[in-house]
C-alpha cells in the first residue's frame, strides 16, 4: 500500500446507493459498497466459495450476500457468516471531495 494518502478509487457517485462496484487496487480486486446509511465498505471482490462477484451481491448495512450461492459475509470485517473462508476487509472512507479512498493497512 502506498503511504498514508492511500489509493483514491474514484468519485463516490460512481456507486449507486445500496450497491457495490469492483475496483483494482495494486492488482487486487476490491469490491466497494455504498451503504444506505451513507458509509462505505471495502472487501476482497471474489467469493471464496466459487469466485462469485461480490459487487453484484445484495447488501444491507451489515452484510453482503454473494449472488451465486447466497453465502453471507460481514462487510465490516470480511468474516463469513455461512461457513466459508473469510474475505479480506480494507479500511475505506470518503474524502472531503467525495472521493473513495482505501487507506493503508496500518491502523488509521
Amino acid at each position: 500500500m502506498n503511504g498514508l494518502r492511500g489509493h483514491r478509487l474514484g468519485p463516490l457517485d460512481e456507486i449507486p446507493v445500496g450497491e457495490g462496484r469492483t475496483y483494482t487496487v495494486d492488482g487486487e480486486m476490491v469490491a466497494v459498497f455504498r451503504l444506505r446509511d451513507g458509509s462505505v465498505r471495502a472487501v476482497s471482490a471474489l467469493c471464496p466459495h466459487r469466485g462469485g462477484p461480490l459487487a453484484d451481491g445484495q447488501i444491507d448495512n451489515t452484510v453482503v450476500v454473494c449472488p451465486m450461492h447466497l453465502f453471507v459475509f460481514d462487510l465490516a470485517t470480511g468474516c463469513s457468516l455461512s461457513g466459508q473462508p473469510d474475505l479480506t476487509s480494507f479500511p475505506v472512507g470518503v474524502d472531503a471531495d467525495r472521493t473513495i479512498v482505501i487507506y493503508p493497512e496500518v491502523s488509521p
Binding site: 462496484r21 451481491g57 445484495q58 444491507d60 457468516l81
Partner: protein, 818 residues
Amino acid sequence: MAPRLVVIGNGMAGVRTVEEILARGGGFEITVFGDEPYGNYNRIMLSNVLAGVQDESGIFLNDLSWYADNAITLHTGTRITRIDRFAKQVYAEDGSATAYDTLIIATGSRAFVPPIPGIHRPGRGYHQGVFAFRTLDDTRAMIRYAREHERAVVIGGGLLGLEAARGLQNHLGHVTLVHAAGHLMNSQLDAQGGAILRRSVEQLGIDIVTGAHTTEILGKHEVTGVRLKDGRVLDCDVVVVAAGIRANATVAETAGLVVERGIVVDDQMRAQDEPDIYAVGECAQHRGETYGLVAPLWEQAKVLADHLTGRDPHAAYHGSRVATKLKVAGVDVAAMGVKEAERDDDETLVFSEPRKGVYKSVVIRDGRLIGATLVGDVSKVAFLMQAFDRGLALPEDRVELMFDLGGPPAEVSAAELADDAQVCNCNGVSKAAIVQTVHGGCRTVSGVMDKTRAGKGCGTCKGLVRQIVEWAAGGEAEEDPKASWYVPGVPMPKPELMHAIRTHGLRSVSSVFATLVPGGEEDAKSKMGLASLLKMMWGDEYVDERDARFINDRVHANIQRDGTFSVVPQMKGGVTTPAQLRRIAEVAERHDVPMVKLTGGQRIDLLGVPKEKLPQIWAELDMPSGYAYGKSFRTVKTCVGSDFCRFGVGDSTALGIAIEERFQGIEGPGKMKLAVTGCPRNCAEAYVKDLGVVAVDGGRWEIYVGGAAGAHVRKGDLLATVGSADEVITLTGRFLQYYRENANWLERTYAFVPRVGIEHLRAIVVDDAEGLAADLDAAMATSVAAYRDPWKERAEPVTPGQFRTSLPLVVLPQVPVR
C-alpha cells in the same frame, strides 16, 4: 529397531490391513509374501475381466511403487510353506527364512473343487478344459481356452458361478449352469427369489439345470461333456468349477494353530493362544463365522490395525451383519440376514412380480428387520440395510419397507438415517453436520439451514432437514417465528404485511424497512421479496430502488457460474421466423457468444455474455426480453397445434402466443412457467406447468394449475374446463393474480396450489364465490399495463456503472497510484 511385521498373503485383506496400519502411523518394518506373481489386485473385479468390461490393468489396487514408497518388502510368487511359531520365523518354498515379531496370516481362500471323477488327470492337475475361478491366472487361462471352444458348463449356481456363466457368454456361444441345490443363490435367496432370478438369467441366454449333481467329467484327452446323477449328459468342451470357496488354512494348521473352517481368532483377530499371530479375511474364523465378502474384511482390518498400532487398545471385532448388494449376471440382487421366517411369530412380507423379474421379501422379528431379499429392484436397499444393521424401528405401514409410496424420497424418518447420509444433495450436507449444528445451540430450522446451507439448493430436502432438526433437538426445537413471515427481515406474514404497506402507503423497499421493522434495520435477504411484492401492489407507482433488486433484475439477464450472463430473447409460444433466427445468429457470431443453446421453454439462449456487452447485444437483437432470469412470468411452451399437427384439436400456438403477449414479464413470488398443448397427447408438457392448458375435442380447453417438472415433479390439478380462448386468458390472469397476492415469497405453484387446495382455488377463481374476481382481474390489468420491456434500458444506464463488470473478465479501470 522397529518391530518386524510379516504378512502372509498379498490379497485384499492382507494389504488392506497394512494400509490401515500405515494410516495409523505404521511403526513396523513390513514384509509381505504373496504366492501370486502380481501386486495386489481386486479379486471381486475378476468377473468384470471375464466379462470383458474391465481391463486387467484396471483391477490392480497397489502397484509396486506403493510398496517401495512405504518401505514394504514385497515377495511376489513366493509361497510360505511353514511357520515356526516358537522360533518366530516363516519359511518360503525356496527355503528362505524370515523372522517376525508379529505375524498376520491373510491367505484368503481357494476354490472348492468337489471330488468329481474325471476332474483331475493323474499327474497333470485339472483335466484339460476344466477351470476354477479364483485367481487372475485362472481367469486368463479360462478366457484363452473358452475363445477356442463352444460350449461351457459352469458347476455352481452361487454368486461366483453366475458371474462366471455371464462372463463366459462373451467368449463362447453356449453356457449351461448346473447347480446342485434346488434354486440359484440358495445361501442368500429363498426358493421364490431364486426362481425369479433364474428367469432373469435364462432371459440372458444361459441354460440352467438345478437339483443336478455332477457325477463325472467326460472325455479322454479333452472334455466332451458332464454326466449328471440322473444319467443326463450335457455336451460341452469347457467346464468351470465355481462350487464355493474354502479357507486357505493349511499352512496355519500345519503350524499347529487351531483351525476349524478357518483359523480361529478372538475379537482382536488373534489366533487362539498365540500372542503374536493374527489372521484376517476369508481365512479367519471369528465366533464360528467365516466371511467371503469385503465389508467384514474391511472391518477386521481396521480392528487389527487399531490393535497392533496401539491406536485403540480396546478395539474389538464383534462380527459383521452381512448385507450384500450385488449385480449378479446383470441382475440386481440384495440380501441380508435370514432368508425366511424361522419362528412362528416372525412377520414375513413377500412381493413377487415374475414378469418384471422383481422379487422382494422381508422378515421381521419383534419389530426389527432380521432379513431381506431383493431381486430385480433394489431401490429400497439403503434403507433396509440401515434398518437391518442398526436394528431401527420400522414403519407402521410395513409395505413402506418395500416401496416408496409416492411421497418424496426423503420420507425415511430422521432417526433412521445414517449419520453420514447426505441429506442435501445440492450442497453436500450430511445428517451429522445438521445434528452437530443443532447440538451447537442452533435450534431453528432456518438457522440450521443458514449455517449448513442444507435445503438451500433445489429445496426438495427441506422437509427432511426439518425432521432432523426436530429429532436432534429432542423436542426442544424452537419454532422459528420467521417461518411465517413473508421475508425474514420484516416481522409479518404476507397478508398483514400487505395491509401495513397499503395503510402506510409504502412504495419503496427502504420505506418498508424504516416503517415496519423495529429499529429500522435493513435486511439484504429480504430486499428482493419486498421489491417483487411492492411492484405487484403498486405497479407504476412503485418507487424502484435498484439496490433492492437481485443482480439478474438489475441487468435483466441471468448470472452464470463464471460471472457472465445469459441472454434469452422473447420468442412467444416458441414460434420464430427465419429473419429472427438470422438476426440471433449474426449477433452470436459477431460477439463470439461461447454457447448458443435451445432452452426447455422453447427459446434460444445466448450464454457467456459479459455484463458490459449486454446493452449492445440487446440493441443488435432488437427483440424484447424473454425474462429468463426473474421470479416472474417466463414463457408459454406450445405444441404445433391444429395448424399443422394432424392430431391437434385446438390452436395451441395462437393461444400460447396470446397468453405470453398479455402476461409477459409479470413478477411474482416465484417463476411462472406455462404451456398450451393442442391435444391430450401433451407434447408441450402442459400437465407439469405452473399453469397448463390442454385442448380437448369439442373446442374446449382444460386448465391445469400447480404442476411442476423440476426438482419436484407434480401433475397439475384441473382448475376448469372452458369453451373459449378468451376464458382461458381471463382465468389465467385471475389465477396468476391470486397466486401473486397470496403465495409466500419463493413459493412455487406446486406448493401453493396443494396448500390452498384446488377446491378453494376453483371457488375463488372460477366460481367467484368470494366476490374477488373483479378485483383480481383489475389488479392484473394494472400490472399488464405497467409492463415495459427492460431491454429498452440500454441507451442510458439507469444507474452509474449498471453494466460495469464485477469480475476481472476484462481489464478494469486501473486506479492511478499517487
